[in-house]
Each structure stands twice: as structure tokens, then as C-alpha cells.
């Protein structure tokens, strides 16, 4: 198998990896905010439902959650055919939304009370205080921890192979077992390094941009 053929096959896997990555991010970023609001709700039962949910998701392996989403409905007698990739993406979005929600919550809670009070005595509404005063400061504070999670997500996408979604690692594994080649494994590593390297540069840039003020 030539270098070009391997590249073509790995690229196909990489496309799936990218798909999982992109859709998870697009779904989990807003869903996480919703979970944050839920877990900070003043209504106690709502708050606790969200907190327990986040605890369960964060306390169990993502691999288990993928398996559950894919096989679960069938096991309780639901006769539906779930697309493998869809099952992976659903599990990923829920899982990452929970992690993101905790980061958002930490960010929101780290904003000093004085910022809200300053807005209040200046006659701002609650939503004006959130959107015009607090939100930007939260974003600045959460970019570094969010960056860590996003880099982790790049690598976590390889968990999709547990239900035979052919992402990057799986496509390399197939080559290795069929053609007895070892080097595609290192080649795959290069794919990941390039991707996460690019993201790191992007995140560092964002962090730098936001660092025009301290605090």
C-alpha cells in the first residue's frame, strides 16, 4: 500500500473525526450554557436535577455513555435503528456540555459581586448586567480551561471506534491489521499533532487578544 493510498484512507477517517469534533463543539457550547443556568437555578429541585445529571455524566466513562446511547434504546425494547455516527455525536454533545457547564459556572461565579452591584446602582437591568458587564469577563476567564477541554475532545473522538465508527484511529488500525504495516500508526499521530497544534495556536491567539486588560 503506497503512501498516497494510506493518506487517502486515513483522510477519510480524519473527516469523520473532524465531523465528530465540529458537531460536538457546536452542540455542546450552547447546551452547556443551558445546563449552567439549570444548575444555578434558584428553584431547588431544578438545580438538583441538573447537578445530579452533571455528576452522573462526569462520573462515568464517555465510552460507557456511547455504548449506552447506541445499544440502550434497543435493549429496552425500542425498535429503532440508530445511526452509529449519530449515537456517537449525541453521547459526545451531552458529555462535553456537562464539562463545559462546570467551566461556565466556575467562570460566572468567579466574577466579583461588586460588578453586579455596580451595574445595579447604575440602573442596568439584569440582562444588561449579564450581557454588557459580566459575559465578556467570563469569556476571558474560561478560555484557558475551555482550551484544555477542546484539545481533549480532539483525542477523545477516537472513542467512537467502540461502536465501530471508522474515525482516524480505527482507519489506521484497519490498515495495520490488513496490511501488516506499522508506520501508518505514526502517521496518524502526526494528524492529531497537527490538528491539536493548530487549535493550540488559535486558542493562544484568543487568549492573547483577551489579555488587553488584567483582572
Amino acid at each position: 500500500m503506497s503512501f498516497l493510498e494510506v493518506t487517502a484512507q486515513l483522510s477519510k477517517g480524519f473527516l469523520t473525526t473532524l465531523q465528530i469534533f465540529g458537531i460536538t463543539l457546536a452542540g455542546a457550547l450552547p447546551l452547556g450554557l443551558l445546563i449552567t443556568f439549570g444548575s444555578m437555578s434558584k428553584i431547588k429541585p431544578i438545580k438538583w436535577i441538573f447537578k445530579v445529571f452533571v455528576w452522573i455524566i462526569r462520573g462515568t466513562p464517555l465510552m460507557l455513555q456511547i455504548i449506552l446511547v447506541f445499544y440502550g434504546p434497543g435493549l429496552i425494547g425500542w425498535d429503532i435503528k440508530i445511526d452509529r455516527l449519530l449515537a456517537v455525536i449525541v453521547a459526545f454533545i451531552i458529555n462535553y456540555a456537562c464539562y463545559f457547564s462546570e467551566i461556565y459556572r466556575g467562570g460566572i461565579e468567579s466574577i466579583p459581586k461588586g460588578q453586579y452591584e455596580a451595574g445595579q446602582v447604575l440602573g442596568m437591568t439584569k440582562s444588561q448586567i449579564f450581557f454588557k458587564v459580566v459575559l465578556f469577563q467570563v469569556v476571558k476567564r474560561i478560555v484557558p480551561p475551555m482550551g484544555n477541554e477542546i484539545i481533549t475532545l480532539v483525542k477523545d473522538t477516537s472513542l467512537a471506534r467502540v461502536i465501530s465508527v471508522i474515525e482516524l484511529v480505527k482507519s489506521a488500525q484497519d490498515i495495520i491489521s490488513q496490511k501488516s504495516l506499522i508506520w501508518p500508526l505514526f502517521y496518524v499521530g502526526a494528524f492529531y499533532l497537527l490538528f491539536s497544534g493548530l487549535l493550540t495556536i488559535l486558542l493562544n491567539y484568543a487568549e492573547k487578544k483577551l489579555n488587553y486588560y488584567q483582572g
Partner: protein, 264 residues
């Protein structure tokens, strides 16, 4: 009739009674200094007047209009409108770190006049309002001596400069009564002067002010009336000459003695 009338304010946090019946009145253009040891309820009183805390009992009447009555119920919107009669300058400045000095001062007036506007504004009208607000902000910032810092961020300023921005920001909302909660307590001693000077200058413009302070010299020379608070009540009230020169209460005497010791 008094300009401001504060009547029987009670406030408790859980089991602790922090304010135990506060009554006082103020005339227009008067400067009132509130002194007292820490924990006596000075901050809580200012926070009640700015609706950051809700008193358990009492009334606040401004210019004949009842702003607050503990028996009443007020919506968020009503509270927002009522608290605009008062401005509050915090001990810790609480500037918005992501905005420039100028933006810090313009933000709230813009949000009020443009975003909370009852009628739909045309683009030209909005631009006009923004221009007026900015012009006004520049003037106020000039009056507190910060014309050369308009485009700086709060983190680039000294504490004294930050507090002057905070004063400008409060003034931009044109409060009827401006309250200060220990405006110089977070500052290095060499920076308190510039902030006190700004407050003195406001006095010459006949601005009604309530100033909680530990600066006894300042209270004595700048205030028209002085309140000494102890344990949630007004222990002594009078002109600076009366309170500092001829205190009637034991507690006032011993408080003043202690604060003199601290100075020397």
C-alpha cells in the same frame, strides 16, 4: 419639609439586627458625613438607600415622594427607577475592567437612554444621543482631572484615579443624592488627597452627598452634618462642631479618642 427623610429603617441578616431604627433628614445641597466603628451598619444603611438591600421596616421619602416603604411591594423595574435618585461610589471602585475609562462612564447612560427607551429611536437619534452622552462624559471626566486617561483601561490607573473614574461614572447618571462608602479606604495614604479633593469640589457645586468615611479631618471640614453610628443606631447627630467639639454621648467620646490615637 426636609429634602430627604429616612424613617425608622430596620434591617436584619438572619438573627443579627444590623440597623435598629435609623431616622434622619437632609436638606438639598447638604453634605452628610457618617462615621462610626466598623460593623456599626454604615455600609448596610447606604446599601438600603441604594436598594441593594431591602429594609425590613421603614420609609425613604425624597422631595415629598415616597421612594420606599417596607410595607410596599416593588417590581424590578420600579426599583431600578427609584434607585436612580441615588448614586453609590464603592470602597473597591468596581469599575468594569474590560472597558476604557470613557466607556465606563458612558455605558450606563447609553443603556438607559437608548436600550431602555420607551419609543423606537431612529439611527440618527441614537447617534445624536450617544454623542451627547460622550460629550457629557468627557466634561465630567475633565472635572475630576482625568482628561488624559479617557482611553486607558482601569488596570492601567492608580487607585486614586480609578476611584475618580468611579465618581465620574456615578455622576453621569445625574443622581439627586450621591453616596460614598469609604471612598478612600482602599487607597494608599498618598492617594486619598486627590479623591477627597474631588469630593470637596462637588460640594462647591451644591451637590447633596452622604459620605461614609474614616477620615475624621475630612468629615469635620467638609461636612455640614455628621452622624455617628454605633451598633445599628444613630448615637449622635449634629454639625461637625457639635459632634467633634462637644460630643454628648460616651460612645462618641471614646470613638473619637480612639480615632485620634490611630492618627498620631
Amino acid at each position: 419639609m426636609a429634602f430627604l427623610e429616612v424613617n425608622g429603617i430596620f434591617k436584619r441578616f438572619g438573627k443579627t439586627e444590623v440597623l435598629k431604627g435609623i431616622d434622619f433628614t437632609m436638606d438639598k445641597g447638604e453634605v452628610l458625613a457618617i462615621i462610626g466603628s466598623s460593623g456599626s451598619g454604615k455600609t448596610t444603611l447606604l446599601r438600603c438607600m441604594n436598594f441593594l438591600e431591602t429594609p425590613d421596616a421603614g420609609r425613604i421619602v425624597l422631595n415629598g415622594e415616597e421612594l420606599f416603604n417596607a410595607d410596599g411591594k416593588y417590581s424590578d423595574r420600579e426599583i431600578r427607577e427609584k434607585r436612580l435618585h441615588f448614586g453609590l461610589v464603592f470602597q473597591s471602585f468596581n469599575l468594569f475592567p474590560q472597558y476604557t475609562v470613557l466607556r465606563n462612564v458612558c455605558l450606563a447612560p447609553e443603556l438607559m437612554k437608548i436600550n431602555q427607551s420607551e419609543k423606537k429611536l431612529s439611527r440618527a437619534e441614537k447617534t445624536q444621543i450617544r454623542k451627547e452622552i460622550e460629550e457629557n462624559a468627557r466634561q465630567i471626566l475633565a472635572s475630576v482631572g482625568l482628561s488624559d486617561k479617557l482611553m486607558n483601561y482601569p488596570c492601567e490607573l492608580s487607585g486614586g484615579q480609578q476611584q475618580r473614574v468611579a465618581i465620574a461614572r456615578a455622576l453621569a447618571m445625574e443622581p439627586v443624592i450621591l453616596c460614598f462608602d469609604e471612598p478612600t479606604s482602599a487607597l494608599d495614604p498618598e492617594l486619598t488627597g486627590e479623591v477627597l479633593k474631588v469630593i470637596r469640589e462637588l460640594k462647591t457645586t451644591d451637590r447633596t452627598m452622604i459620605i461614609v468615611t474614616h477620615e475624621m479631618g475630612f468629615a469635620r471640614s467638609a461636612a455640614d452634618k455628621v452622624i455617628f453610628m454605633a451598633d445599628g443606631i444613630i448615637e449622635e447627630y449634629g454639625t461637625p462642631e457639635e459632634v467633634f467639639g462637644n460630643p454628648k454621648s460616651e460612645k462618641t467620646v471614646s470613638f473619637l479618642e480612639k480615632s485620634l490615637e490611630n492618627i498620631t
